[in-house]
């Protein structure tokens, strides 16, 4: 069960993370100038807002919930093993594609 959970978590996290990045959805923002956390953009705060921590939290929690549900099924192990060899690579490539505008592409 732990193995199935870990493989499903790897698959789901590597897809959910770039997906949430694409739609700019995160679980909270950190304002480093004020060392304050907020659930969403706050005009009263000074300085930039960092979404990275909230993005990891959102993708991580969603992946934990979904992987826990899938790991219950023993038969899903074969699918998980096949998926975990490929899907994380696609997730990494998707991230590059999302950031392509920074490189003028």
């Amino acid at each position: 069960m732990v193995s199935r959970f870990s493989y499903w978590f790897a698959v789901l996290f590597s897809v959910l993370y770039p997906a949430l990045l694409a739609v700019d959805w995160h679980w909270g923002l950190y304002y480093p100038l004020e060392s304050q956390w907020r659930w969403s953009l706050d005009d009263t705060m000074h300085g930039p807002a960092m979404q990275w921590y909230g993005l990891i939290a959102a993708a991580g929690i969603a992946a934990v919930v979904m992987a826990s549900s899938l790991a219950v099924f023993k038969r899903s192990e074969g699918v998980a093993l096949k998926a975990v060899s490929l899907i994380p690579w696609l997730g990494a490539c998707w991230t590059v594609w999302l950031l392509a505008p920074f490189f003028g592409l």
Binding site: S3, Y7, F13, S14, L21, L81, V84, T95
Partner: protein, 150 residues
């Protein structure tokens, strides 16, 4: 001063991680039928690769956490400088570094289990993917720090 120490330790952990992961990944390459024992490449890949996975998970996590702790200072001091210099590619490179590092973190449990249980296709795939992430993060971090460091 604390930031400087954090950055240096972050870099040192990254070096350890690079070395360990590179040795482990190269050990997965197909072996020659007749290996020349004293060749550098033969020695480089002749490591007890399965014993590297736990130290790799630990050093990856340490490197990640150290980077995450000094990231706010990058956001306040370095990124605005990149924006003023109109270096969109530098900003993009750091963005890719942080996002790939996060994806790599999510792969660690599966990576560790694939080595423990010797699940060959998975351990090959995840080891090479983590190697790509770590090399890119290391090189981009150094280049960006050269442009404008903390």
């Amino acid at each position: 001063m604390l930031v400087l120490i954090g950055l240096i330790v972050h870099g040192l952990c990254a070096v350890v991680l690079l070395g360990a992961l590179s040795h482990q990944a190269f050990s997965l390459l197909p072996k020659r039928k007749v290996a020349v024992a004293d060749q550098f490449f033969t020695r480089y890949r002749s490591v007890s690769a399965h014993s590297f996975s736990t130290p790799i998970v630990i050093t990856y996590t340490m490197t990640f956490l150290l980077g995450a702790s000094i990231y706010p200072l990058y956001r306040l001091d370095v990124r605005p400088a990149f924006e003023e210099m109109a270096l969109a590619s530098a900003i993009g490179a750091f963005e890719l570094k942080e996002h790939w590092a996060a994806i790599g973190l999510g792969l660690l449990p599966a990576y560790w289990l694939s080595w423990k249980n010797n699940v060959i296709p998975v351990k090959h795939s995840l080891t090479w993917l983590l190697l790509m992430v770590v090399w890119f993060d290391f090189l981009s971090g150094h280049v960006l720090n050269n442009i404008r460091g903390l």
